[in-house]
Amino acid sequence: MDVLLEMKGIEKIYPNGVVANQGVDFSVAPGEIHALVGENGAGKTTLMKILFGLEQPEGGTITYKGKPLHIASPHVAIANGIGMVHQHFMLVPSLSIAENVVLGLEPKRGLSFDWKTAVSQTEELAARYNLPVNPTARVQDIPVGMRQKVEILKALMRGAELLVLDEPTAVLTPQETTELFAALKKLKSQGHTIIFISHKLREVKEISDRVTVMRAGRLIGVTDTATATERDISRMMVGRDVVLHVDKPPTTPGDAVLRVEGVRYVADTGKEVVKGVSFEVRAGEVLGIAGVEGNGQRELVEILTGLRKPSAGRVIAAGKNVTGKDCRAVRQAGVGHIPEDRMTHGVAGLGTIEENLIADRYDSKALNPRFLLSLKSVSELGKKLVKEFDIRTQSPKTPVKMLSGGNIQKVVVAREFSANPKLIVANQPTRGVDVGATEFIHKKLLENCAEGAGVLLISADLNEVMSLSHRLAVMYGGEIVAVFPNADEVTEEELGLYMLGVKRMKLAAGSEAS
């Protein structure tokens, strides 16, 4: 088979000591759509960043079009016809689509920018690749799906023959995804080669010719998409059958530990992102909230945990009205919070494990027996929690940033769970966490629940919400659109319909309370 790109023995170690790629071999044939799949943190994005010159590998070689290529920077990549569309778009919001597309390659008339040519160039490109956009619209005014088209056009404008798309569908609605796929197929028919990063297997099956699977920084295997089932691929991704079987103990829920009543949130942009959400979490149960990211879950969680003030509504946690109170008050009421982004909210990376473990109790009597912090008590607590929560480290005095994602998450979990919360708000608790740590965190979550804590679990991972939750709710467009009193009786397909906003239940205000 022809080979367009061959990466051999790629090794990448980040300055914080994380080994992102270990001897990865990766090759792409001309004119194919090649899916690169793996769990979060498997090293897919790192590999592609190396290809695009954004990261320099510690070892390995890249051969492109039969010649060895040293990609020192994105300029080299672009000059060789490699383009990349990042997960987070890199556009100038205040400029028009045409201006964004020609940025850096501006057509000139004399000394001034030739706006008309820019527009016509953009139109022509859009027509050729069937990526219709309005060149004069400003990027800040257009929806996400359109922005992605602009990103692709931008790469094509620079002569990209090999196009890397990093999780392009993560932010798209199903319709937008369909459109994107049509455009990708058109690109392919015109001779372009596409690398498609994803962990959504259905999409991989639909769009790709071949699949490369990565796990924990290593290459696991390459297979023709047509001959592999979703199950095969997922087994390669995770290392075993995916439906993580969790022994969820039956529960007899107690009193409500969280009551949310008509909570609304209007963002600075004037858009209402949470539209009157009401529900209850009872002691001893896991309430899962499923939904595509960006449907108001983040804002809701931040309101419940004190990071954000609601525009309207009430939040009652463990019997205390904590509406609009700060994090300290919410914590004192007995709420633990596993935040969505552990490096932003969950830990101080440069702080030691110990320091991170005491963050919620640094001023407690137990740690301050006299005037000063007792280093002895701090270190005892550190040792105890490192052991109890199986944090893999040489010493509790190691800076947190030196740990792997899974172990950093364990630090967060150790702190939050050891405070004996009455309510745990877990937002994407296992995102980017390896399978072992995921299992451990799930186990601890259910243990706490069995001991009487209420758990609110928000996750974009359907498998996770479905297997852990007793009850399930679905959030779409800032609202709860469905509630299933028994999570075991729901199919993934049905949940999907609610998550995409195709279906919605008639829920009287407060009816989901019981």
Binding site: G17, D326, R328, V347, D360, Y362, L372, K397, P399
Partner: protein, 349 residues
């Protein structure tokens, strides 16, 4: 982790060495007697007790301002205002020294305390502006230097000026307020013990107290501190206030120990030097006195060099600048550091 620590120390030393080397090259280019110049620069401070005394005397105010700046840095706040806090602390101590009748043991304590309060007040303003309204403390603390310079000059000139003196100076401080110079012929004074206390206090505060913990976590990651239930608004304010106290006491110590009369006509510059000290010491309070001594050594040496040879003292600013550039440049020796990291990561895989 330990290797990284060693790396930081080595990196600083390499930076200092390179800076010295560059200083020597510059000296060589401009001087007719480069050998002597550099020799007097390097060994000058140790050639007489008096000169060695100068070194120690100069290190005392630098220790205070270095501590003040590092305290703010640890909270990820700037304190460019240590200059004004130091100056205003000195002004306040002068007034107490002139006006308050008090016995010899109490008088300096009183003057230092008032100096600290004055510094605290100057530090509180940018702190509260930042915490409440998000105003950049970098700008406000810098601007306040000039505001409090003028306020201080006004107070001294219009209320405590010695009209009988030939120069624009304040009335003499009562002898009861002086910090005794106990090692003649040097001017080393009891302020050195106050400085040592300040180092110990800052260390304990930052690393052993719950408030210092909250301050450091706020500095390391503000959203994390917020999420953990730390009141970051108050942390930001008190980090600037305590920073101001330390700088203010520093100004008072300098006045009571060395000058005995207020005679500054411009900002003395210790606050800005404090930034250099804090950077060299990596904001570690225990490293501050060493960094202060080192900077004082460079300054004293440069002074002696300027007096005894044809090279002017400004040469030292070249060395300082290169040193700070290299110490703060993240990329300096980063390749070497990365190789250490890679090696360790490979071993642990």
């Amino acid at each position: 982790m330990k290797k990284e620590h060693v790396f930081e120390v080595v990196r600083s030393l390499v930076a200092i060495l390179l800076a010295m080397l560059l200083g020597f090259i510059v000296t060589y280019l401009v001087s007719k007697q480069p050998g002597e110049a550099f020799q007097s620069f390097l060994t000058g401070p140790f050639t007489s007790p008096r000169r060695f005394g100068n070194l120690i005397e100069a290190a005392i105010p630098l220790t205070f301002t270095g501590l003040a700046v590092s305290m703010a840095f640890q909270a990820a706040q700037f304190n460019i205002g240590a200059e004004g806090q130091f100056f205003f602390g000195a002004t306040a101590a002068t007034i107490v020294g002139i006006t308050v009748p008090a016995p010899g043991w109490l008088h300096p304590i009183l003057a230092l305390a008032v100096g600290g309060v004055a510094g605290a007040f100057v530090g509180w303003i940018p702190g509260v502006l930042k915490a409440r309204w998000g105003a950049s403390e970098l700008v406000s603390s810098l601007m306040l230097n000039y505001v409090f310079f003028r306020v201080g000059m006004y107070l001294i000139n219009y209320h405590y000026r010695d009209t009988t003196a030939g120069a624009m100076v304040s009335l003499p401080l009562k002898e009861t307020s002086w910090l005794t110079q106990f090692l003649p012929p040097t001017r080393i004074h009891y302020g050195i013990f106050v400085a040592i206390l300040a180092v110990i206090f800052t260390y304990l505060f930052l690393y052993r107290s719950r408030w210092g913990y909250a301050l450091r976590m706020t500095g390391l990651n503000l959203p994390f501190a917020n999420y953990s239930g730390i009141n970051t608004t108050s942390v930001i304010t008190y980090s600037q206030v305590i920073s101001g106290v330390v700088a203010g006491i520093g100004g008072a110590v300098e006045m009571l120990g060395i000058y005995h009369r207020f005679q500054w006509l411009a900002l003395p510059g210790y606050g800005f030097d404090g930034i250099i000290v804090a950077i060299l010491a990596r904001n570690n309070p225990l490293g501050i006195p060493l960094a202060a001594l080192f900077l004082a050594y460079l300054r004293t040496g440069a002074d002696i060099m300027a007096r005894t040879t044809d090279v002017s003292a400004e040469m030292i600013t070249v060395i300082q600048a290169v040193m700070i550039l290299l110490v703060t440049a993240q990329a300096f020796l980063a390749g070497w550091k990365h190789r250490i990291v890679v090696k360790e990561a490979k071993q642990s895989v």
